[in-house]
Subunit: 384 residues, 4 copies
């Protein structure tokens, strides 16, 4: 168990180190009949990629994805989709001081303690570079969800003590990508940007958070108990590098609500189905979706790689030493974390859609060229 | 996938409905040689059981556990441990108004939407009664961890707006069980108690939170990425009924820390091993333990079963109606949630101990009666 | 990993030792809406139970199953079904000579080598008594398959050198249960019975085999590669106690067939779907079903518990000794193996049905009493 | 679930189609500290590769493996090992007649029935080309097992009606690779070769079998019941393309053995440990290893791709038609199946070694360059 696998029916398996040859991801369990080309994936990779703005690391990675299998004539075949993304701009030299002297608050020491070794260039396997794999898989998940009228979106709702007012889903869609901070509230985005600049200039970094929301998720998704939607979403989001808190619905605030304040009456919706009158519950009750939007927040602590002198100890020499973590690093994580959070949300929802047999295959295009046949799955869950 | 399975090598499988015949739990992967009798489990069950104080439901359940397998002459044999706990005091009548008219903010509707039916007595499978199984399994996990000098403890650190000052692990051990609120800070406990009483008298309920901590966890436990210690712990804790937020280390507060503020230098500990100078990181870096205590918090929203008139809709009649949720319910969840949170923490840690082959079998007593042999596992991970 | 779990979406988790308190099985992932009472399960348990004839062990076990959860008003609710079967007639005394001196060709030594201990009464966890759990779970699987017009059946096709002629599925249904050997060819059954008697009188036992077949399995079930239908069925059948060979289709005989002899042309069936002209392929091509019957054989070696003097060594005393395995044992396994093989076949097929979303929920009765609702799963795969 | 994942702690995830861009395999859970270069893997790939002799397909694939991750300075790091093998010599044109008219006894129709489409070039995902991934992963497993003094070997023991006499493990090591049939009995190999030639000249193909054996496997490996060593090995071997029978120990022959004939007394071995006096049990009792060699056989039916005119039906036109399967195909499978069977055997054993914590890490070289540290895993199971 390398922690490189996610999902139950829609499965993601990854490999790759920050300064290794390539990153790779295998997506297993993707239904057949989805129109898919590399460009469908590239868009999200570009949102995550380094060097996209002044507030991201300047490492120059084109992050071009190559699909090796599972797609034919532009449509998925239901078999595993293998993808690789080459690493092009690795410069390991700056990491040499830290081979046996761990960087403060990184995974250097813990990886060494677990494995007895580690790939030390650029953080190796512990680097957030790994999330390029997640975003590639997530882009496929999003495209599948879109065929079912399910949308996911995230934006940055806090940087340091600058907090965004609440924004609607439509505002997120419209404004989140307009600025390099990826905050859907333009004035707040500007404030955040100033704050980030300040810390960046000081050689420091700052924490923040990402708000996420999913619209169109049908009621009845999820499972009881250990596999509740919130538990699995919690795992997904806490896996995001630097995540230190996960909340959904009222989140931490629920501590001060009484039952009567938080409880939501039932009414009939426009289709005559019961629906709660509010959404303090974040779209999930008893671990299963109500049909209301799913929303929550992930806190991402400040980047630990900062060009300030800090103290470490060298386990080879037995001596303390002072080092700066030079390199090319982000002053803040949420802006590039937005596509990562969206990917994890999409992967979680899609997995439940498949587990529940709720995918409607007629919404996949599926006209797989001339050799299209009657032998379509009647239900996309066919495609295990 | 019924969501009734937890863990990878130390596995827990559960069944049971609130008003069904019995609750049951199978523990698979328990190492051989642990001294184990029913009394070892009963203690934690008693801490969780209903009717233990004025601030818990008055349902009268002795919650006596019966072990059916996996133990011989007082020691575990390495094979599955089957346990049942009979339900004795089920009174389903009060739930009849809600068969087709869901209680506000319960799982009634979502279970029906998912399964097309549900066991409606006492909430059926969605009831927190299920956690009796978790606590039974957790008690075994705790006993195993104790042989490895690992301890877990939790206490109630917030009820409504009453917040406990920070307490030490020793204070938790000493004071948490002294009062019915299970807050280790006695003065705060009294305040919490008053607040709970107030809401209880109003026919309302109130939210709160549980702080947890583990001491003695060796460094190097956990895994990269999707199976990071924090991700798996996040799943475990978000599965606790009514959990709406999970935090570890600085948690949500990390948003306002700069990298330099949060980063922790390295020093050598008394054994000459590198260790961080602080523990804002909550014992986990890069998804793997540092050897520092693991700690965090879970927010539990207010109980949704309250004897106040609320509105629901009946999907059979198509009519709105007003109902009170009569029954026997808790006015607050954290006090009984303490053993549940401890159980999930213990189960998560133990699973990583087994996955990492870190269990020291010599610390299990293992003198399994007269027929003791040389054929002991050399490593408890032998016992898959 | 105790090896006590089977299946991916329809999951079986077991516990229990031969001379322990009770056997137990949890069935997770059973769709809601199946009419189910204990009598539905009891029939198969009776076919497996000891003492049913002169050629089975005389141990007196009623093997009455008790359902604790997952069923309400006679219908499954989609949540886990917990069941126990009490052990009533355990007499461990006869096993004392073997506590540290393993019985020839039993699991006594290997369990001790793995776990460092074992429950030695009646073979403990290694006893075929465990299969009572499998048959209980299998009975539910069969009932679900029957709603989809899928039937499984097995019979004894060889005992020692007595081989049954081929029989049709209808002959199996009609004749297999008419005789205590469970061979569907009555004349052969009589021959087999004589042979078994002969060995039984000599204090010996004899090997044999079980032929199995499934009718009505839709085409397109299974999966590529590691999870091919034949691979998963192979695991299922090789798990049957005493199994030493698994074959499907031509089985071992395929060694001497040329490609041209074995290849089967395609024709259209009565519905205009392609179907192979023969079934040497055993219903599976490329790991996926063709729609033809699935069939094969499992070889079960002779029971190892025989009342003959044999040599063993005592690892406590370091001495060799001569012992007879007294007790109550079967002279041959296939007759009681028939319901076990059927159970494993049913569990395997059902799991693929759920994985493929092929269950038709309209065929489950699902009128779950008065509180029946519109909130039925649209697809039984809903019931994860 | 695409059937592209194998193993529990040592995990293999694959992708790729016969005529796709590349084959890929991710190995997760490989312990750190194993010396590993591409050449270690290439040897087995060369034994499996097409075009190696006159009795294999003439497709020209160099099958060169590229390692992308998980290895640093020549040693494994404990993180996932990603590998790709490019497809260079795909010629799909000859498969066009079969796009909607399935080849006899291939997976064409069943893949289409399951997925509603398929990659039809060269059999796509159903092609045995996939096993190049298995052999790559297996080569790593073998190297790890060698550090623990465990060896696996296979040879061809039957082609058509030509059966090899029994050979010793040493004979397999010495002779199996001396001839293109990979039969360790040279005279029989010559006979087999003649038989294959005969069928090849006739445009036909022929079945056969592979015998496998593992030496040095410690006692106590495996698990009870559903995960018994024989069950998991059964799954592994039945996944081999064209497998129609799996046997271990006496296999099918056990049908005619009495209990007394088959039972094996116990004696003390040279170390004073109990050991059976024979090995009709094939190294496994009660699903767990005895320490005796593990051995068995896999039957592989004749290749289904033969240049003879056969009948199929076109589901687009609704017409029957006659076609020859032209292309580049093997006249017999066992010779190239030998490294595949060895790979599956090695993967199965290694997985149990990790599950049991039996790997001795001191036997891995593990001097990982200059930055070698004290922070070695104390137990290779550390490396989850």
């Amino acid at each position: 168990m390398n922690g490189n696998e996610f999902g139950r029916l829609f499965r993601v398996t990854t490999y790759g180190e920050s300064h290794g040859d390539a990153m790779g991801v295998t997506v297993s369990g993707c239904p057949a009949g989805l129109e898919l080309v590399e460009e469908d994936i590239q868009g999200d990779l570009d949102r995550r990629k380094p060097g996209q703005s002044m507030i991201t690391t300047s490492r120059g990675e084109p992050d071009e994805v190559k699909i090796h299998s599972g797609v034919q004539d532009g449509y998925t075949t239901g078999t595993p989709i293998g993808m690789t993304i080459q690493n092009k701009d690795a410069r390991s030299g700056k990491y040499e001081p830290f081979i046996t002297a761990p960087r403060p608050s990184h995974g250097d020491f813990t990886y060494s303690a677990k494995f007895g070794t580690r790939n030390w260039g650029g953080g190796g396997r512990s680097s957030a570079r790994e999330t390029v794999n997640w975003v590639a898989a997530g882009a496929i998940a999003k495209k599948l969800l879109a065929t079912q009228d399910i949308q996911v979106k995230a934006h940055v709702n806090q940087i340091g003590d600058v907090v965004s007012p609440d924004v609607s889903f439509e505002e997120m869609l419209e404004h989140a990508e307009e600025n390099e901070v990826r905050c859907a509230h333009p004035e707040t985005a500007a404030e955040m940007r100033d704050l980030i600049n300040k810390y960046q200039e000081e050689g420091d970094s700052i924490g923040g958070s990402v708000y996420f929301e999913a619209q169109g998720v049908p009621r009845g998704l999820g499972a009881p108990r250990f596999d509740s939607f919130s538990a699995r979403l919690g795992q997904a989001m806490m896996a995001v590098p630097a995540a230190s808190a996960f909340e959904f619905g009222l989140g931490r605030e629920a501590r001060t609500y009484t039952g009567f304040e938080r409880n939501e009456d039932w009414m009939f919706d426009e289709n005559g189905d019961p629906t709660p009158v509010g959404n303090d519950h974040g779209g999930i009750q008893g671990g299963i979706t109500t049909g209301q939007p799913i929303y929550g927040e992930v806190t991402l602590h400040a980047p630990t790689s900062i060009p300030k002198t800090q103290t470490t100890v060298d386990w080879e020499t037995g001596e303390e030493k002072q080092e700066k973590v030079i390199g090319r690093h982000d002053p803040v994580l949420p802006p590039r974390g937005v596509p990562v959070v969206e990917a994890m949300l999409a992967l979680t929802i899609l997995d439940y859609m498949l587990l529940s047999g709720r995918m409607n295959p007629d919404r996949l295009d599926g006209k797989v060229g001339e050799y299209d046949t009657d032998y379509h799955p009647r239900n996309p869950a066919n495609i295990e």
